[in-house]
Symmetry: C2
Subunit: 383 residues, 2 copies
Amino acid sequence: MNYPFGFYSFGKNIGIKDDSLDFAVIYSQKICKAAAVFTKNNYPGSPVIVGREHIRTGKLQAIVINSKNSNVATGERGINDARNTCKALANSLGISPELILPSSTGVIGVPLPVDKILKACSEAKENLKEGNLEEVARAILTTDTKSKISFREIEFNGKRGVIYGMAKGAGMIEPNMATMLSYILSDWDVDQDLYSELKFCVDETFNCLSIDSDTSTSDTVVLMASGEAGILPSQIFRKALYEICLDLTKQIAMDGEGATKLIIVKVENAKNETQAIKIGKSILNSPLVKTAIYGGDPNWGRLVMAIGKVFDEPIPYENLQIHFGDLSVKDASTEQKILLSKYLKENTEINLKVNLGMGTSKKEFYGCDFTEGYIKENAYYTT
Amino acid sequence: MNYPFGFYSFGKNIGIKDDSLDFAVIYSQKICKAAAVFTKNNYPGSPVIVGREHIRTGKLQAIVINSKNSNVATGERGINDARNTCKALANSLGISPELILPSSTGVIGVPLPVDKILKACSEAKENLKEGNLEEVARAILTTDTKSKISFREIEFNGKRGVIYGMAKGAGMIEPNMATMLSYILSDWDVDQDLYSELKFCVDETFNCLSIDSDTSTSDTVVLMASGEAGILPSQIFRKALYEICLDLTKQIAMDGEGATKLIIVKVENAKNETQAIKIGKSILNSPLVKTAIYGGDPNWGRLVMAIGKVFDEPIPYENLQIHFGDLSVKDASTEQKILLSKYLKENTEINLKVNLGMGTSKKEFYGCDFTEGYIKENAYYTT
């Protein structure tokens, strides 16, 4: 596995809830240019509040993350815990606390076991290993079943660098202008504004994702670019960054709580992007569409319903074309329904294409089916 | 059981899908004043399209209903089927087709087996029995497990009359300015505009209901008032009508697909009704709130998340008060969480009270928990 040069990290267990990895640090030997997008939830977690302050300078040198407890809805105490975490790590690394982005994920409303975290921070320096980022990708997981990693090696002007991304997230996911936790690290820099590059890619990927229509209070995507390998033209940097974000988005959708199928909804020929988003999200979030796909039932009437319940975007019925894969579903005959059911049952990636016949705008959305596993996971995910 | 005077009805099986009751007629010997509200889904069913035409005169004398097939997304053929159904019944009853409201519920996108329906219409007159409305309430069911009936006997100025309501609905239910199928019949009339009386009651009851956030293409509430018993002042008529609508709403929520618990969300001290609706619906439709209640998990952080994801209605966290029953949940201690879990586990009616501390507006919302039963019902409810 190829890491960006100059990044050190570790993940370990510090006993926040059980004996799985629950704490991680990422450190860059060089101060990085950095950009981040955060949740729009009106009750952001304490780390998001502190992280917004620290990213203001456009510089970061480290990220400190714990899983199993999100430090959300914990008031002043929570904010102090996030600040003290940064301070303790800054001491250990010999850098300024403002160069550290704190990040937490897990249960909401429970104070952080801060003593365990401060102790882990104070010992951070000695635990750091060069690269080692898969360990971090494992340490940030909660209800995820798999690590989510995507990277691109890029050669340009005789130099070689890497953009390396990881993410977690399986439930409470409809990012809405931000996303769950994702850390993207690079030894390349870009010849354009870093935030604009990140925002563009996030809007086309993570922001088109929904597992369950619920927007987390902890969503964070952060990009750190050290520039050790040099500076890339935007078209090269952005292409790789977009591919990584898209890859992570699909990995999250595929690993949604209880999911058995990745659903990709392509809305085409929309009047504009707003219309595409409203219709795409309505389909992606309809429990009746999601359960039909789980059951291999070509119940296309539910798709019509989901499009029709976007009251302020009426689409003439005759304009509508709907496909599962290459198969047309509207007014499907009995024979066609057998093929459609086969398509749903035999694939783990389900492509729904909805042509609105209204204009030229198009957009893709990413989600998963809805199964008994989601219910079990969330009925008994205890506080 | 007490029926309004002068109404005749029957329910029977005509073999649309299986051998359960699937066809019903309601007939009033007198032409009634009538009002109806319908789904706002942009793809209303054919019966809704024809019903909107027929109700325009404010008069109805009969309703013809089938379950197991909704006659939605069936094009011109579907509309003709609905018109021909009304004509066949009109012939049998010796009345005008425009005095008949057609209504269908069931699978979307499959043409109606119209021959069976026309035959049943032609034999309708001989099947009618006085009252007999429980049979209709049974015949309109789809995935419901129970008939839903509510009525009030009213004495006024020495006369006696009845308002009698029935409803069906268990899935694809977030009515949004209309509702699933409900028929309300009375031998009383009211001294105000019938539509206004109905709309007021629907907005406070059926429109505050959500089973699964999906808005059906067939939603219809119709009220027929014969006036045989005389005319009631609005305050008496509306009170009874409201109580019936509320009762039916709760019966639907309690019988939601897979549901084990009725959830009542009371939003208090909102800035205005719009804010109350946005916050109330966000809580009521959050899969994570619904699964936590199913699991008896006092995971109040999910309530905070659901309030916070209404991005355009930020509520200062310190303003928020949240109760399950009489128990405060925000920042609950371990002991308090044990009591909260007990409350969730031991009750089938769960009252959530959310005080926003923003103003004086308040509103109640009705839904149910989210269980494996919902998934099973809808993954394999075959087309």
